[in-house]
Structure formats: structure tokens, C-alpha cells
Symmetry: C2
Subunit: 122 residues, 2 copies
């Protein structure tokens, strides 16, 4: 299996939690300090920080510290990579479905004379 | 938090494993029996079946049984839903970035006369 898949599955792991999905959504509006980001969540700060660590390890967010203030921001390239992976799988499935439809239509066209012959026999 | 996010995070949970990502990729080529699908994986069948259960619960695949043969197929609509969620987050971030660029440019234009005045003073 390609390393690419392993890496993408890490991004999906980071998104496999409603809290982390909500953090990503919140950061879509712009960079925020950890305090501001954590405020709407009914959660102890250490638990919240664990979610941030998972997100940062996956590459979905980056954090920076200025004095005592840590700020988080989204890394859209990582979101884009996960999006492309999913789009790729769907495209593969759709291309195969299109080929299937073409195949069945061709088969149907080839079978038409045969069906007519049978009807004549009846 | 919207139920929609909870549901999407379940799809990401299903994709949060390299084996399950590989199963999804393999099903992109078309429906397969469990035996054929499991063949390339160096894994005991019960472990493989657990992965299929996770994928089926998330709605990413559906399975059907004919006699003793179980067949798996991809559900592209679920892939599409996850893809749209990610695209939505990215679009929000990009729209905000565009607004930031516009804001900075406007600010820069407004400051230009001020800078000119200062230069004149110098």
C-alpha cells in the first residue's frame, strides 16, 4: 500500500471525531487563540489540547506561540489532500459505472437482432 | 453541533485506517465478493470482516448475500458527502483569506496618501 494512503488515513483519523470536526469548522473563519477556540466547548482544557495535538500531528492545523498565547490556524493544503483522495475514489467508481453502462448498451444493441429472430420463430 | 457533522465524522472514522482506505480504493473498480476483496490482504478473515462492518455502518459500502456469497459495493453518495464537507471547510477558509487580502489591499490604498505626506515631510 502506498504511503500516501497511510498518510491520508491519518488525516481522516483526525477528522473522525465530532469535536475535531467542529474545531476545523471554527478555524475556517480564521486563526484563533486556544482560549477563544476552546470557549464554546464544554470540555476541560487538557482534553481540548489533546484534540489539538491530534489535529496538529495530522497536518490539518498548525499552532504558533507568542509569549503565553498559542494561536491555531487551519492548513487548507491538508484538507485539499483528503478531498482529492475522496474525489479520486469517487471518480474511479464513476468511470467504471460509465464503462458498465456503455458495455450494457452495446450488449443490448448486439442482442436486438437475436431477439427479433426469436420473435419471428414464435 | 449539527448531527450532520457527527455523521460525517463517522465516515471519517471509517476511513481512518489504511486497510479500510485500501478496501474503498479496491471497490472503486467495482463490486467484489468478500473472498476476492480479502485476497490481497495479509489478514485473518474475522479481522477483515470487522473492517467491512465499520465501512458498512458508516454507509461507505453496502453488502448483499446470494446463497453463501456476500458481495460488497461502494456507496459513492457517502464518499460525496464527506468530500463536500471537506470542500465546504476549505471554501470557508478561502473566502475568509480572500476577504483578508481585500481588506489589506484597501488598507494599503488608504494609507498610501499618508505615506506620501510623510515622505513630503521628510
Amino acid at each position: 500500500m502506498a504511503n500516501y494512503s497511510v498518510s491520508v488515513s491519518e488525516v481522516f483519523h483526525a477528522l473522525a471525531d465530532p469535536t475535531r470536526c467542529a474545531i476545523v469548522s471554527s478555524l475556517g473563519y480564521g486563526a484563533q487563540t486556544v482560549t477563544a477556540l476552546a470557549a464554546p466547548f464544554d470540555m476541560a482544557l487538557p482534553s481540548f489540547m489533546k484534540h489539538l495535538t491530534v489535529l496538529e500531528r495530522s497536518g490539518l492545523i498548525r499552532t504558533s506561540k507568542l509569549g503565553r498565547t498559542r494561536t491555531c490556524e487551519l492548513v487548507p493544503e491538508t484538507l485539499s489532500r483528503a478531498e482529492k483522495w475522496i474525489a479520486g475514489q469517487r471518480a474511479m467508481w464513476e468511470a467504471r459505472s460509465d464503462r458498465m453502462v456503455e458495455f450494457v448498451e452495446r450488449l443490448h444493441q448486439q442482442e436486438q437482432p437475436h431477439v427479433t429472430k426469436r420473435r419471428r420463430k414464435d
